[in-house]
Amino acid sequence: MSRPRLDASTVVEHLDRGPLDRVELARLVARDIPDGAYVNLGIGQPTLVADHLRPGSGVTLHTENGMLGMGPEARGDEVDPDLVNAGKIPVTEVPGAAYFHHADSFAMMRGGHLDVCVLGAYQVSYAGDLANWHTGRPGAIPAVGGAMDLAIGAKDVVVMMTLFGKDGAPKLVPACTYPLTGVQCVSRVHTDVATFHVTPAGVAVVETFGMTAAEILSRLTPGD
């Protein structure tokens, strides 16, 4: 598999600032979602993206437990135990919503009808392989949910993560060491310090935050 590729002709470096915080990252991901798109936001950090969709963007949120037109998290009297998102958190419905059962919901996902899904990740490989469901650690109880269906189903699979783990290890890797969720499925990786596009030729850095593309590349491939 090819190394991460630096396409200097298109990279935009934001060096007058530090890395993106979680909110800024969510805002950036939201910015790249086209108006009118049908979008699934994964459990956890991707959920934050919903707060940054432009009102009037016409983006429709899908939740895999059977709904299009999901609204914000439910508060107070809005809480209805029959209306939850994929993380089992009470949510609301927007006008124009639709409910459907699980086989229909996953037919929609598997059939390639969602425009975008945003997922967290443990690792993404240069080829766009995704690992986000299982650490593989002994004693860890595995749980996959809808992660594999989203990974192979959405037209655009967007990953949101920090580029480096707490131990400094890159999460964008030549080959995933964690158990895979999907093969060659990721199209875009948004991280705190850089945005990458996954192309058939490899991974291209397209935007950086607080670091130069050269610095990022050298930290990603320290052995070179």
């Binding site: 124009g96 929609m108 009808h113």
Partner: protein, 227 residues
């Protein structure tokens, strides 16, 4: 992307191309999108492959499309009707190709296309001429034949009502193939008697979620335009 609403039948079918696979809803006349078919005839696309349960009756709708010689091949379960004289004539003269598929397999192959299923083992038609020469497999003591997804470039669907999000409801047995064709085609064009505002369709009762709908011909607008 969000469905577009139009009152102009010509605009609704503008992007149908020569050689397209066009799925056409309806069971006989129930659910047949006649306004869209008429617009397609006027639009002129030809060399079409049509997927429809029937091959048209009388001289209207699908029969008129056939009579205009726009259809090279039809994929259906039941071409023969008391009033299918247009199809019958073309078929007997060798002017149209016919691929006959059991009705449930037709529906399920389209469902598979919409649901991202690469193929499925189906018990229907095993041991009959309609599955001759095909891959079979015994699973759990029963024999099945492998069926592949059936995809469309365009689906023309007759529904009852839409909301501005493209959610559809149908009327009675006019529902038939519309919902499954909407999932199986690259582009789904629907005709409805009216488009209501968001919130005008109970989310519990939506049959086709808006994600499957690209263009909606609002017949109430079309009539206003025509007047």
């Amino acid at each position: 992307m969000r469905a577009q609403v139009t009152g102009d039948p010509a605009a609704a079918v503008a992007e149908v191309h020569d050689g397209d696979v066009v799925m056409i809803g309806g069971f006989g006349d129930a659910g047949m999108p006649v306004a869209l078919i008429d617009a397609l005839i006027a639009q002129g696309a030809t060399d079409l492959t049509v997927v429809c349960n029937n091959a048209g009756g009388g001289d209207h709708g699908l029969a008129a499309l056939l009579a205009a010689r726009r259809v090279r091949r039809i994929i259906c379960s039941y071409p023969r009707q008391v009033d299918s004289w247009v199809f019958d004539g073309l078929y007997r003269d060798g002017d149209i190709e016919l691929e006959l598929i059991p009705q449930g397999t037709l529906a399920e192959r389209m469902r598979a296309a919409g649901a991202g299923i690469g193929g499925f083992f189906c018990p229907t038609g095993v041991g009959t001429p309609l599955t001759e020469g095909r891959e079979v497999r015994e699973i759990d003591g029963r024999t099945y034949v492998l069926e592949l997804p059936l995809r469309g470039d365009v689906a023309l669907v007759g529904a009852h009502r839409a909301d501005r999000a493209g959610n559809l409801v149908y009327r009675k047995t006019a529902r038939n193939f519309g919902p499954v064709m909407a999932t199986a085609a690259e582009r789904t064009i629907v005709q409805v008697s009216e488009v209501v505002e968001l919130g005008g369709i109970d989310p519990e009762t939506v049959v086709t979620p808006g994600i499957y709908v690209d263009t909606i011909l609002d017949l109430s607008l079309a009539e206003a335009v025509a007047r």
